[in-house]
């Protein structure tokens, strides 16, 4: 059994070597997951904001549904996307199966509910604080929504990071719809799964550490940016 120290050493050696295959896999992981998070934010932020601010019939049920969808098993999402994009499926003509686009679609579906639910929670909490003040200042619901989105921007960044974490860590869906094709759809997680199935556990774990470092760097970068925007002291 490999020790964690071995794996960290493997990870560092992998990074130091600048192995082009590893670079390719890391870049594809980033491209797929970042694109998915952007797409999911385009869906999830307005949806979550609407759920927080507007009152309409079925809203409660929708909130429950969005929260429940946060727990979607990636494999189920992968299966649904696979069956949709399959040549025999309704969207087969698009020819997207086994491409990065298919992986982006699957991860978008996985991440959008997370971003929507976290956005809703953050805005709903802020709304209880802000509502009366904003109404007193003459805000209508659209004004309120805009104000909350801006003032909750750091909570939204956290929501996006949570979504990115889920996207980067997810393997079940991208394996099914991407096919883990070498140089085409192989990402960090599917590479880890492959190395595990080859019994190359130190390499698999080493790749896991590379993934962990990648998420660490991304989080640190975003939080550092946040600290800079927020100013020297705490609000």
């Amino acid at each position: 059994m490999p020790t964690f120290l071995d794996s960290i050493r493997t990870a560092l050696a992998l990074i130091a070597s600048g192995d082009p295959d590893l670079v390719e896999i890391v870049l594809l992981s980033l491209r797929v997951s970042l694109t998915a998070v952007v797409a999911a934010a385009a869906i999830g932020v307005p949806l979550g904001a609407a759920l927080a601010v507007f009152r309409f019939p079925g809203r409660g049920a929708l909130v429950v549904l969005v929260n429940a969808l946060m727990g979607l098993p990636p494999v189920v999402v992968g299966l649904v996307v696979y069956l949709s994009l399959s040549a025999s499926g309704p969207l087969g003509v698009l020819g997207l199966l086994y491409t990065p686009a298919a992986m982006i679609i699957a991860q978008t579906i996985l991440v959008a509910p997370i971003i929507a639910a976290l956005t809703r929670a953050a805005l709903a909490e802020m709304l209880t604080e802000y509502d009366e003040t904003l109404r007193a200042l003459g805000a209508n619901r659209i004004d309120t929504l805009g104000t909350l989105l801006w003032d909750a921007r750091f909570a939204l960044v956290t929501a996006l990071l949570a979504g990115l974490g889920r996207a980067l860590a997810e393997v079940g869906a991208v394996m099914l719809v991407g096919g883990n094709i070498d140089h085409v759809t192989r990402v960090m997680t599917t590479a880890i799964a492959l190395e595990t199935s080859r019994g190359a556990l130190p390499l698999a774990l080493g790749l896991g550490f590379v993934l962990l470092m990648l998420t660490l760097v991304l989080n640190a970068a975003v939080l550092g940016l946040r600290a800079r925007l927020e100013g020297p002291a705490h609000a």
């Binding site: 003040t133 007193a136 805000a139």
Partner: protein
């Protein structure tokens, strides 16, 4: 400007010919969670200067301000404002909520929400900052202001929409004497500039310094509206007498 006519307003206010010039609260009632928070409140306030609203905790003062600001609809009754004040009411809550932005950002956003034309915003912004004596703090995040600074910001922010009636709910409740002085000076500047101010306060000293009249509320009803300085020396109602003596009202 100020109506300092030293006479006791007949209570309940009779529909005198001059009544339409006053701020009228007529037969207001509001029940919340089974409690009559406002219970047939009727009174008239002078349309200029600073009026104070006093009364023990739970008397309905804060709710009354919210009803006057149009934020809470009463179950019954109505508030009749003099024509120039209609739709031009500003309010500052006891614990003002400042947006997570700079002081300047708070004011800019309030001007935007007040639909102040873009071309006028910079000028209005400068005016509000100057009025609140807030210039050195303009770029500070609002939530890092001291209590007095925050209160002054909240007050000038409520002026963004250029209200004719400004409602203040215990603006100095948590402030030290120096900060209290700063807020009071601001309130006086605002009143002198022609904006009618109604201020909720528990502080007789503050009332003596600011108010032209005092409305005393108890159990959701108006016990009296008495001009200053008469109210503090000789309140008309037994409730106000007891309150000023420090007796707990039941």
């Amino acid at each position: 400007m100020r109506d300092r006519t030293p006479r006791v307003i007949p209570f309940p206010a009779s529909p005198a010919p001059a009544a339409d010039a006053r701020i009228l609260f007529r037969d207001l009632a509001l029940t919340r969670d089974g409690t009559r928070v406002i219970d047939g409140l009727t009174m008239a306030l002078c349309p200029t200067g600073i009026s104070a609203v006093m009364g023990p905790n739970g008397a309905g003062k804060s709710v009354l301000l919210r009803i006057a600001a149009g934020l809470v609809a009463p179950d019954a009754g109505r508030v009749i404002l003099p024509l120039p004040m209609r739709g031009r009411v500003g309010i500052v809550f006891q614990s003002p909520v400042l947006l997570r932005r700079t002081l300047r950002g708070n004011l800019t956003h309030a001007l935007k929400l007040a639909r102040v034309p873009r071309a006028d915003r910079a000028r209005r912004l400068d005016e509000l900052i100057a009025l609140g004596s807030l210039l050195p703090l303009a770029e500070r995040p609002a939530r890092r202001l001291s209590g007095g600074e925050a209160q002054r910001l909240a007050i000038v922010r409520a002026l963004a929409a250029n209200p004719a009636l400004l409602l203040l709910d215990e603006p100095t409740a948590h402030l030290d004497p120096a900060s209290t002085q700063g807020v009071e000076a601001l309130v006086q500047r605002i009143a002198r500039a022609g904006t009618k101010v109604v201020i909720v306060s528990h502080d007789p000293g503050q009332i003596a310094r600011l108010a032209v009249e005092v409305a005393f509320l108890h159990h959701g009803r108006a016990c009296e509206v008495t001009p200053m300085p008469g109210f503090l020396s000789a309140p008309a109602s037994a409730e106000a007498r007891a309150y000023l003596k420090g007796t707990i009202l039941l």
